[in-house]
């Protein structure tokens, strides 16, 4: 099964070894005389402005967290929706009610988020 991939593995190995060797050779053989100019950030020849560790708005974090949670909840709704039509009638109602409860609980979370002002962008 995997035999066909052996040449690829060999190539990956050789290229990784070659790259590793050359990168380390240059630092081994070349002279190492750092100064302030050399160590500073290269920003297309301009003087660097500020640090790279700048903070950005916390709103991105809020959106990301809401996204993670609600995105995962959709994972549950897909299998539910797909298998919904395969049920006979009484079980259909049952599974509809169960799905409804699930969505109501999620909706409470959404209302909570909305009232706390997480979704306000400005």
């Amino acid at each position: 099964m995997l035999e066909g991939y052996i040449p690829i593995f060999i190539i990956i190995f050789i290229s990784a070894a070659f790259a590793f060797l050359n990168i380390n050779l240059s630092s081994l053989l070349g002279p190492n005389r750092p100064n302030k100019e050399k160590l500073s950030t290269y920003e297309s020849g301009m003087e660097p402005i500020g640090t790279a560790h700048d903070r950005f708005s916390i709103k991105y974090y809020m959106v990301a967290v809401s996204f993670i949670v609600f995105d995962i909840e959709v994972v549950f709704l897909y299998p539910w929706a797909v298998s919904f039509l395969n049920f006979p009638k009484p079980e259909m109602i049952y599974s509809f009610v169960i799905g409804l409860i699930f969505i109501v609980v999620l909706a409470v979370g959404l209302i909570y988020e909305y009232k706390k002002g997480v979704l306000k962008w400005d």
Partner: protein, 100 residues
């Protein structure tokens, strides 16, 4: 169709990489990412067991693991951010007021 062993070895390797990441890295966010890697490695083996055994509950378990991992991510990032606001670092070597 590959044998189940390959999947299990892949999963064990990913799990070990995750464990190693938790043990050697010092940045809280990267440690957290390693933990996520561990959980996803477990998902691989759950799915492959499930398909090997022809039994569905392993795949349902994966859904639950994914959900829990997402909830953990939300809470964990919140904790890391609130620490960062007070202390301006997420390096766990510098987080050391509590001892003895």
């Amino acid at each position: 169709m590959l044998e189940i062993n390959y999947y299990l070895i892949l999963s064990a390797l990913l799990f070990s990489i995750g464990v190693l990441g938790v043990l050697v890295r010092r940045n809280a966010i990267i440690i957290f990412m390693s933990i996520e890697l561990m959980l996803n490695a477990i998902n691989i083996s759950l799915v492959s067991f499930s398909s090997y055994l022809g039994e569905i509950s392993g795949q349902i378990f994966v859904f639950m693991v994914l959900t829990v991992a997402a909830a953990e991510a939300a809470v964990g990032l919140a904790i890391i951010i609130s620490l960062y606001r007070n202390k301006s670092t997420v390096n766990i070597d510098e987080i050391n007021i509590l001892k003895w």
